[in-house]
Symmetry: D3
Subunit: 331 residues, 6 copies
């Protein structure tokens, strides 16, 4: 039942204030590591999938600590490289009630964004693999990272892997001279499962239809290899209380998950990555409807866990889908 | 107004992860001590009742720390013994939202379960006492523990104490060769106040009626010394939000407490023990209806307090029953 | 856009238990500093107003730490004095659910209450200033403190400052031989913006009308210099969930703010001070209706922040008033 | 082998900065309770002596926490009273290397110093007791405390207890209008075992001889009931490294303990109290020379333990005297 | 330069009090994992050796956390099994000055000691491996564990691996009915590098010569396959200050390392394992004299690191041997 | 007695592991702010000197926190600017025993190094000032920073300030295309008090004499405005134990301070800055010999304090020079 999945992307050190402290109050920071694509690999590794994350770290002790972190979670680190540059960082302030959470990114000039990946043997990386997942963050970082993504996509495609891409458009990135429309369309052309909302369609695919379903159809016309398009719908009653629903277009119809009230959020960073990991798992092992339910339940559980990563078992996700053992005291 | 109450049972070291951390994330554990029966004694000691807890610990420094803990809370430790065996432990992971809390028990071969209590002078233990409380956990641990419970019950009964028993059926215990139906009926025969729900009636008293009121009547027929049967009704909206109501059958009618919304649970372990302590207090000092209200309010407040024990004052419980000073800032 | 504001009052060391721990459980206390009037100055300093706080501390290292704290927050400490007496303290236990928060004050014989302020050059203090804020806590502490308040009010009035006073009646204070009606009326006579609820009107102004609007009219008749009277209406569903609304009488009509649900309160101490700071800012820079909205939003955000002080930006308050960026993850 | 020992004195809340933080750096404080005389009782309770501490606390939750602390350590709290006044406090900054440790006392107007002890049944307190220990701190606090000490001494003397007194002269106390020479001589007259150094002799007994042995002889002439005089000699190489030796004059000769190098001091507060507890134990159960060795070893071990109290076993002290199991890893 | 090394043994959860707290003071415990043989693997993995640890854990989340810990440190966990039984634990109290450190073991009935290893494919385990390391702790736990050790030794020997054994005699183990002389000699017969001191020779090899060199010769006569015997000499000035020297008998002569003063010990648990790891590395990659220097320097550095494991780089050990970069601030 | 002192330089966020944890073990980091020149200002501010620090931070919340930190310590922040770029960081691992401390710098592209200071009104900055202090770190960061330093030096010189410069040569800096000999000589030409050791003379002044006294004479010949050259001599017995001596050449003779054993170092970062602050204070207020004693004592005390900054009073430094109150418990 285990599949082999490859992810690529930057992993940052995450420094978050204690509890709900504001940045100006902080006298210490909790440190873990995270990055959108690695979060997907970690989540899948928890479910006994064989995952490899491709990335680069600086060669110093904190780069080693990051590698150790990935290894701890069960992700294979054979394709973690040490190269020139600094450790990408982000600082997180965890909101509460009406007060929003805040992230200060500090990721420019990182080892990963400087990394050219020239020595990666992509045939070896993708050997025997079932799935490749990338996001729009990587090509937004640097020309090197965009080139590497394209190269990886070509080999993965040639070897017949299913490919998912989380468009994840972020205006603050894309500072190396190219814009998303210069780069993303070619990458999307190799992608079968797309995570995309309205802003992603507009900024990275030049599709500006108001209706998401129409946009999906348009995307399929422009990129006929696409099989699934997916997103979550999140309503923020407050920083502590969100409402979440998963949406999956399978080329024919739009499937919805149950709606979940998340009333005492512990940490919402990585909620989207847990959704994607759930969807990848679901599309490999379950029916379409089950997949979107599984993905959404995975995302919900992530909101109860500190850090970027979703440390939940298959059983816990399945139970939540079924409404069993929810919010109990399990002895 | 102070009564003398005796409890008996194992006290474990409780090791809980920080905040809402999962076991796989933990790099430290908070340590307190707790056990269902001792929790009852501690709660009652807070209300200036004179309580004695009978138990056994290993003779090493952690056994001493456990004794010190009981003494700190005001429980009399004259009948705490040091004997062979390990310290019983349990590990707790505190859930949030839809994610359940989890307990990993590690209590086999403990000093208490190995303890035969041969040297206990039960006449002395129960001298001048008003009430004896036991639970179905103790006879489930070992033949020694079951024998000791029976012996204690006989003496307590002979000396005219009121006796309460929390059936508390747990399938994972009962591993020493006997089943609950081999042991529990004889013990229940000495008990005047029973804490029992459907599963307890079925597994420990062989009463399988669907309706709880009918089961109470049946129990009274089988065990005519019973005066009260009680339970709580808990609805788990999530791990952070429960709804609670107390139920008391006094041989004539079923009394209900107010229903409480517990919307930001800090720690639900020990909630049942706080209920029982409240009921014991109530049946000694209040009317039946007041008793079930007092018991339920005691339980509600426990959910706002970290650890197994319910550190609240009489005034705080009475105020909650009256709806006064609820959720304020008291200067 | 920056105004100069002067506040006067005692600053205490606040020792609060960790998380939701009860006093009897505490093995450590978090320490910050706070006091109603200083909290107002700190809040306004965050919004780039030029604030000076007048107070006195003991000359030892903890008095120095208190001064450093004020300086850190941007409050000018040129008029912080070191004098005889102890550091005022308060101990805080943070409630949860139905369990109330508790404060144990330990502020008698403090350096501030012993301080006679004889050497203060009030002309210098108020030089170029726009606003002076005092509260009814100061004259309740000691004759010295009451005299100093009166002296300050006279100079501030003579120099044409706008003066706000938070009546803030507390029965446990007023232990030096005078009652509020002996002292407060004369002080209120110099005050243009009054923070007063029913209990304040009764105890400090001898106005016992049931209707708050009527009481405002009566107050205006008794103290014709009054321009605004304000208060908040707080409904405590639980210690974790309050409902808040701001109310402002501007001499003509009563204006109301939006109502806010505060469902996951982090720390409610200082919520009133954040309201007052917001109102002072609003009355200096905004319309009356905008002012009461700004004040209430400022107070709401405070409830999400640990400590006495409200570390929020102008933008965050304005955003909440507009319903923008509420409870999001801002990258 | 167990004796009954009574101590009397104030117990303060001790608030110490974390690690070696300075007061101006502290954002939290560790809280325990301590006081010279209670520290003696706690230390003796660890050695299975039956100890009672007589004191008074404010009736609020922190006073209750202090009582719980004493009870936890095994000290009997039957004679702990709740009375008017605040909780005495002291703030501790733990030095390192050449930097000294600092204490800021905040104990005036405490419940204990206001306590008149009129209702204490001293006959009951001393019933069956072997030893009474007091210090010069108590009569230095207030007339009430001095009177109560004298009354206790008279009863203890009449009932034939052995009485020890730690002169412990502190210039900063004695602020209620009397000086040590007004009060102490009468109290010393009831005392058999005196802890006194040069400054104590001078300030409390008006004996100004340079040589300590001569001073002991003079003391014996002035107070013929004295049997032992004792002190420690401490050399402070740095805050982290002290050298310690115990000295005991038994009326005939001066006995010295081994000299100990304490090279990595964890917490030196309470080192003198651990010495006194050790001496009391020693004089009750051992020879004179053994007593001074036991006392000094007890004090040395205290320096390795955080807090005021000396949590060591009899075996650990005996082992250190014998040089066995010193600084090992005991499995 | 990388070799493949196999270790086998129990890994326990280590729960240590904070700082220098005593067990009776602890309100939380730091949790890591450790075991003598796994510590060796972890240390070697830090030096880029390919290490596999063979062990068994309970299948619950704490067993998973233990596996994650090994994986994090770079040890290969392909041969980690989940089986029936509890998690072995040990509690650690870190001494200071004259006060010893204390360990309370709680490891009976663990998953590892119950594990029969019947399904282990030892040919696969040792495939391509260079070295196998075991200790006398494993055969002391249970018959199952002793049998498994013997089986592993036979296969390792047949495949030509170098085998090291740390005799590590502990009287408190060996509770399953056999004594060390019943079991150890046969295991030692397969071992080329022996870690053994006087007590080990006596209790496990029945060699009682006073002189360690003579004992080595005798051992060689009894077990002619032995090539090296080694030990450390440790002098405990205090728990904070030890003196350490390594000793290696290579069949011809006794080689000594430099003597090291360890004056501010952070954590001495695992010091011996770091020595053995260093020796294994040294004997594979260096001369005999260099090996004993490397091993001792490795052990010294371990004493500066919290936890069981020695997280130091090759360069750090080599630098210490050369006396370079010792105790500096490296920028 | 208060003088006005100006410093200029980058202030970084310092993220240090807890206790003696290694980077690979860290799950949280303690955060303070520090930089060589700001450390000097902070130290002098503690001694009631009027200090201004000139620097630039990014405009986000962490830049604000850094400003707040400076303000808290008493440094005037009128000349703190917000500009483009990131926050400079450094990660610190605190060594122990033979294990060295390690710093990982992450300061490239910081707001300060990008800052051109074009808008600074240097006449205003230096108005009424007595002293200007700079270090060789600033011109090593960027051409902008080097230019700004030169400009500041010219104005300070023209206004007659005494100027001190800490050469502080660091090979890892100087990455913007210029070397120290291209830049430093011109800056040194404006400097009266030089902090320089052998490596500084060689790399920044091209003076390669073996003897430090000879080098001082040579420096005086090349830069005749120099009045004092100073350095410390540090011997690292281990990371926990250093030996320190101050050396001052006053143009005529070499003066030495007492030698200090620092046996339990808490934090040695900033030790050199505390020395310089002490020397600046000394040269302004004391004799030459007293100055070097004061400077060295200041540095010694810094080693007992966590963080970059030296929070000690004038009295504490004077006391250490006199050997009074050293390593005591001050009540």
């Amino acid at each position: 039942m285990s599949k082999k999945i490859i992810t690529i992307g930057e992993v940052m050190m995450r420094l978050s204030t204690q509890g709900h402290e504001r940045f100006v109050q902080a006298s210490s920071y909790e440190a873990v590591f995270g990055g959108s694509e690695a979060n997907v690999s970690i989540c899948l590794a928890n479910w006994d999938q064989e995952t490899y994350h491709v990335t680069a770290f600086p060669g110093h002790d904190i780069g080693k600590a990051a590698t150790r972190y990935l290894r701890q979670t069960g992700v294979n680190t054979d394709f973690v490289y040490f190269s020139e540059g600094r450790m990408g960082l982000y600082f997180l302030e965890n909101g509460s009630m009406q007060r929003s959470s805040k992230i200060i990114y500090d990721r420019f000039d990182s080892a990963f964004s400087n990394f050219d990946g020239k020595d990666i043997n992509w045939d070896l990386v993708f050997d025997g693999a079932d799935w490749f997942h990338w996001t729009g963050i990587t090509p937004a970082l640097s020309q090197n990272a965009a080139d590497m993504t394209l190269k990886a996509l070509k080999v993965a495609n040639a070897k017949g892997l299913t490919i998912s891409g989380d468009i994840n458009y972020r205006r603050n990135l894309w500072q190396y001279g190219k814009g998303p429309l210069d780069v993303m369309p070619e990458l999307i052309r190799y992608t079968h499962v797309l995570v995309a909302g309205k802003s992603d369609f507009e900024n990275c695919m030049d599709i500006t239809l108001e209706d998401w379903a129409d946009a999906c159809h348009q995307a399929k016309r422009d990129y006929p290899q696409i099989k699934f398009i997916t997103k979550t719908k999140r309503e923020s009653i407050s920083a502590s209380h969100n409402r979440l629903k998963g949406v999956l277009w399978n080329g024919e119809e739009i499937l919805f998950s149950n709606i979940y009230e998340m009333t005492h959020i512990v940490d919402r960073v990585g909620g989207g990555d847990a959704f994607i990991a759930g969807l990848i798992y679901g599309l490999m092992h379950l029916s379409d409807q089950e997949a979107i339910e599984f993905a959404t339940a995975s995302s919900v559980l992530k909101h109860s866990i500190k850090g970027d990563a979703n440390f939940v078992s298959l059983e816990e996700v399945h139970d939540l889908v079924k409404g069993e053992n929810v919010g109990k005291l399990l002895r």
